[in-house]
């Protein structure tokens, strides 16, 4: 499935970003907005088709260190640093 670049909708599945992102709820995201620490970004798995949404913990030259908002959720410790080319966009309407 090809995602539109400028503005697209994201349906959240899973509770790792609770209570900021509600499972089942649809959010708008854009690829053009600047991404900063605290923003929620949508990105594609480095190898594979899975698409994730996580919060930016730290902006690095090479990309983004990400985290879940619940302590038991995955983050960069499991997923690695998210490269800019993996990022599809930033969630807008939180």
């Amino acid at each position: 499935m090809r995602l539109p670049n400028l503005l697209f909708r994201v349906k959240v599945s899973g509770e790792s970003c609770w209570p900021h992102l509600i499972p089942g709820k649809k959010y708008f995201a854009t690829s053009v907005a600047r991404k900063r620490a605290g923003d929620f970004i949508v990105f594609r798995q480095d190898s594979g088709q899975r698409i994730y949404v996580k919060r930016i913990r730290e902006v690095l030259p090479a990309g983004f260190r990400v985290e879940s908002t619940l302590s038991w959720g995955e983050g960069s410790a499991e997923l690695g640093v998210i490269k800019k080319r993996q990022v599809l966009g930033r969630i807008l309407n939180i």
Binding site: W18, I22, P23
Partner: protein, 156 residues
């Protein structure tokens, strides 16, 4: 003419398969659920009027409460089996604390069902560890206690 003595060849089924690891896994699961229950916040104001968000919130809580309840029950069951089936009078002579230790542990299982109290869950893990230490000592396998600790302390 000949006196008769009774020689016990009793063996439970399954024979000799007792271990405190299952109780510790259950106790640690209780602790994990309590910690998660403390962390799960209600939906933000902007989502609090959304029935789906509220349903999800309640579901998140209830699932953890249910798991906590079930694992505390399982911990109580595993401990009860060790207490009633594994430990023998000679063990009690060696470790007079055994009855009190089990009684307090079983009471703590109930407390952990009634409440979501991290201190009570941590105390349960601590008492199960002491039971395990005695268990492996009387089994004459102290190295298994070290293995038990290494595995169960790193479950999360």
């Amino acid at each position: 003419m000949f006196s008769t003595i009774t020689a016990e060849a009793h063996c439970d089924v399954p024979c000799g398969i007792y271990d405190p690891t299952a109780a510790k896994v259950a106790a640690k699961t209780v602790l994990r659920m309590v910690m998660q229950l403390k962390e799960i916040a209600p939906p933000k104001d902007t989502d609090s009027s959304d029935p789906a968000a509220m349903t999800h919130y309640h579901n998140m809580l209830v699932r953890r409460i249910w798991i906590k309840e079930e694992q505390a029950r399982l911990c109580k069951q595993e401990l009860s089996i060790l207490w009633s089936d594994f430990f023998k009078p000679e063990h009690l002579e060696q470790y007079p604390e055994i009855h009190d230790l089990f009684w307090k542990s079983l009471k703590l299982c109930s407390k952990n069902k009634q409440e979501a109290d991290q201190e009570a869950a941590e105390k349960l893990c601590e008492l199960v560890d002491r039971i395990a230490e005695i268990f492996y000592t009387v089994k004459k396998a102290p190295e298994r206690f070290e293995a038990y600790k290494q595995i169960t302390d790193k479950l999360f």
